[in-house]
Every structure is written in C-alpha cells, then in structure tokens.
Amino acid sequence: MIEQQYIDLFETYREVIDQNATEGLNKERDAAFEAFKKWGFPTSKLEDYKQSDISRAFDADLGLNLRNIPIPVNPYDAFKCDVPHLNAHVFFLINDRYYDKTQPDLPLPNGVFVGSLQTFSEKYPRSFSMYYNKIAAADNGVTAYNTMFAQDGFVVYVPENTVVEKPLQLINILRGGVNLNVNRRILLIAEKNADVKLLICDHTVDDVNFVVTQVTEMVAGENAQVEFYELEENSVKVTRISSLYCLQKEQSKVTAAGITLHNGYTRNDYRFRLSGEYAETHVGGLVISDKEQHTDNFAFLDHAVPHCTSNELFKYVLQEKSTGVFCGRILVEKGAQKTEAYQSNRNLCSSEDAHMYAKPQLEIYADDVKCSHGLTTGQLDEDALFYMQARGIPEEEARMLLMVAFTKDVVDMIHIDILHDRLEYLIDKRFRGELLRCGNCNVCK
C-alpha cells in the first residue's frame, strides 16, 4: 500500500511536524489522519479520478522538509518582478513556506491581513479557527493528506466593507536539491462587501521531481467580489494536485480562472458551493500542452439555493502526446429554483497522439432552472487555415494565429488589464515554443 509509508512517516515525525507549525494548524491533524487512513490517495478506480491516478505520484521516494530547514533563495533575485509591473502587492511561498522577508510595499487597507498562515493563526486565532479546514471537504484523501502535513501557507483576509484596489500576487517557487513533496495551504477570506483580486503564479527553479498538494479554501461573504487567477508555469517534473474549495454567500461574485501554460502532471479541482441566493460564479480554465503533459480539471458547481448563476468555460489546446481531462459536474439541489448554470468545454487536438477525455455531468433536482452544457473536441478549421494562406500568411503562422484566437474567450475572463495583455503575449510565445519555462516570472517581466 502506497499510503503506508506516509502513515508511518506521520506517526514517526508527528512531534517534528507540530514543533514547526502552530497550534491552530496542529489541531486539525488528528481528524485528517483518520480521514487519510480511511480514504487514502485517490486512484483511477474512483470515477472522479478515472484518468488521473493521484496515488501513483506518491509511489516515489520523496523528501518532506518537515523541520523547516531554510532553503537558500532570494526570490527577488530569482524573479525580477518589479519590472514593467503588474502593479501588484507581491508575496512569495518558497515550497510550502511563506517568505517572510517580503519587501514592504504600499500599505494595505486597514484590517487587511496578507501573509503567513502561521502568523495569521496566532494573530487572529478566532478567524483562523472559523475558516481553516472548515470549507475543504473532509472526505477527500489528498485534501486530508495536505492537512496532515501542512505547516504554513498563505492567507488573504479582507474584513467587511474593505476594498483592496491593487491586485495581490502570490508567487509559488519550487526549490529543492532532492525530490520533494510540498504541501501548501492557502486561505482567502473576503468578508461582507469586501473586494479583492489574487493572482497566483507557479514556478519551478530546480530540476528535481516535485509532488505538490495545494489546498485553497476561499470564502466570499455577502456581496463580496473575488477574482482568483492561477497561472501555472511549472517544469515537466512537477506533479501539481490543487484543490480549490469555495463557499459563496448571498450576492457574492467570484471569478476563478486557471491558466495552465506549462506543466508536468496537473490535477485542479474547482469546487464551489453557492450557499446564498443571487450568488454568481464564473470559472474558466485554459490548458496549453505538448510533450507528455497531463492536465485534469475537475469542476463541481453545487447550487444549493435558488437564484444563483454559474458559468463555466474550459478550453484545451493539446499538442504532441499530451493529455487533457475535463469533468464538469453541476448539481442543482432540490429547491434551488431559478438556477442558471452554463458549461462549455472546447478542445483542440492538434496531433494524433493527443488525447482529450471530457465528461459533463448535470444533476438537477429542481424544475424551474436553466442549465446547459456544450462539448466539442476537434482540429483547427481547415477552411480558415486556407483562407489565411491565400492572403499570404504561411501555414505555421496561420495555425499559430488560430490557436491564439481559440484561447481568447478564456483570457477575456481576466479583468486585470495588465495581466490580460501579458497573458496574450505569453500564450503567443508558448505556441511559438519561446516561453521561458522557469527561472523568471514571465508575468511581471
């Protein structure tokens, strides 16, 4: 059993884990340990993980930095993030630890906390215990695993009636001299009428294997506005298992978009619970892959109450021997009348060896709703290609333009203008094979 070595590890090092974390984080470990022993890592025997066997990633000799041995890196040297500038407040996680030498930026609005999960658990114990590990599912093995080992992470806390004008940017940096397991935790709390935008960028510095679990818990309070963007530019040796759990209260509006620009093996869960009336969710995903990259996006929209709206748009451009997986589940619970839920999944397979597995799932238990889904997988439009060639545009260039055009509506979901334009540029470079894979933060440079 793959799990056994991690069970042994946890029991052996429990004290070390606790010593290098805080009480608030430690309190959750016992229950998580029980859950992990019960559920284990998800395997392809489970319907929701059919194309992505998570347990296999852990069947390896991975180190964990449980003693918090400092990793020598100056993110400001590694990432020249101050150049043309997103005009954002910038923060770093080195593997799963908050980088506490963050250079002071403009002051944040009163009462806003952005920083280390450890610090937050000690400074704001009440808020911490109200939200930490309360939104994430208790019955998911990999989430439980993350809770067992999580020792630090990143928090954004925006109190009532507070607007954070400038976007926040978190840069995740993977560093290590040996193959590593990294367990990262993120908490984003936007209270009533709060307004915040967070961009998370994933980068790999070292050429070793990383297996990363990331659990993000997000709460959008009444009438809160949250924009949450993730940009993955990891190396092919990275396995990223990310689970986003979002709880939305009434009239809240959340936009979440994940752009997979370069990766190894990725599984992203987007799990939303719309628990207050008139809540609105927009979820987008864009995957550009080649080589043998594997990307699995799993979206679950749970409409628990009436009058909520959700919109999903996931697009994949699969080249060479890459694999894309999409599962979109919409659940409209009994009584959730006047729900509007739309889902669209469009995929391009530009080689015979590229594979797309797509599965829309609609479960509707209310009778006065508008729900739809659309799914297509195909190749570039040959007529459009010829039309462009007939205007003097070489075939390769025409393909490039058509692929970039294909990605446009997902990129258009991003409302930070500079990021939007930057992404268009990066996507163009990605298709041309000119993208710097790591060593630089492409968003800011």
Binding site: A384, M388, A390, I393, A398, V404
Partner: protein, 253 residues
Amino acid sequence: MENLLEIKNLHVSVEGKEILKGIDLAIKKGEIHAIMGPNGSGKSTLASVIVGNSRFNVTQGSIFFNGKNLLEMKPEDRAREGIFLSFQYPVEIPGVSMVNFMRAAVNEHRKYRGEDPISASDFLKLMRDKREMLGIDSQLVNRSVNEGFSGGEKKKNEIFQMAMLNPKLSILDETDSGLDIDALRIVATGVNKLHTKDDAVIVITHYQRLLDYIKPDVVHVLYNGKIIKTAGPELALELEENGYESLINNAME
C-alpha cells in the same frame, strides 16, 4: 508583351473525378477577363487551383505566373507573388481581429519582398485610406474576420483585403452572388478603382449584371471543364440574350 498568367492544357480532378479537362488561358497585364458558364462547369475549381487549394489534384498541364511555375508553390507564396482570390464564400474566423489578420498578411508580403514590417501608425493609416477609398464602414474592420458579417459585408471585406494587398492578379469568384444592387455597385466601383494597367483581373460570374460595372476585355465560356468559346465583351451580352444552350449545342457537335 509577356503573359502575366499562362495556363496550358490544365487537367484537374477531385476525388478521382475529372473537373477540368484541358484549359488553356493567357492573361496579360492590364486586362480584365470574364469567365462565364453554367453551374458545375468548373469555374470555381479553376480559381481554387490557381490559388493552390490542395483539395484539387492537377493531373496534367501547367500554370505559370510572371514566368514562375505556380504549381510548385505553396498557397501563401502564390499570394505573396501577387495573386488574390476574392472567395465565393469568405470564411469566418472568430477571435482573429481584422486588424491583426491584415497586419499579419501585409507584413508577410513585405517580408517576402525583403522589406521591414510596417510601422503601427503607417499600418493604421493604410487601413483608413483603403477603407475610405472603398466607402467601407469602420465597424467592419474592428471586428473578427467575417464573423457575423452579412453576405454583402463579407464581399466588401474581400475587396477591402484586395485593396490592402495590392495584387497583380485578382480573381473575383462570383463576387456578385448574394449582393443587392447597392452592394454590387460598391464592390464593382472598388474593383475599378483598384485596377491599373499593371495588374489583371479575372471575373467569374453567371450573369451579365456584374459586367455592366466591370467591363471585361475578353469573355470566356467554360462548360464541362473546357473553354468552349472566347470572344470580346459582346459575348456576355449575347449570352444574356440567348443563354448558354445554343453555344453548348454548337460545342457538342
């Protein structure tokens, strides 16, 4: 004077079926040729083969353009040599703006000639000048290529692209189909404005109507994969009066 376009004994088939059965055609700079004929006679096939649509198979014969062997060239190189097809059915390309599309095309033409890319301001000026010359709405060029355009708008957009690329040989494939009389006039006026003694035009059409506006020097009738008659502009009028039937009957004998 040397021929700009020279087609000799051209045989073309698609999926094993022979569509063109030996076409000979020579066009000089400054000339306008009309190719007429009933449906299914091979007119659009001829246009497609000249621009390099790979769906069609050339089994025999040759096409030379400006002394160069066209059949050895990719479609994009034919375009950059100066051949332009106004498509019978222009293609919609969602997500690609007209501006980006035209900038890419113009710059590819320049690159082919060994010139630097056009500057942003020169390009916008070029777009505006051509648009104004043809009387085309600015809305048209701010949208994605042909996306949601009406039939008339699509045809106007073809002529706009022709103006931007300044071809040596323009082929108008049933540019009049689906046009009302006002749109037809705009399109025809545009073609006439663009036409000089240094370039040539092939007008493919069923009807005399377009030829009232664009006056051909030579009229060919294509039937069943062969040119069965070539004459001056009076031939088009004759056909309008009498139809193709007597001509076809004569050819069959």
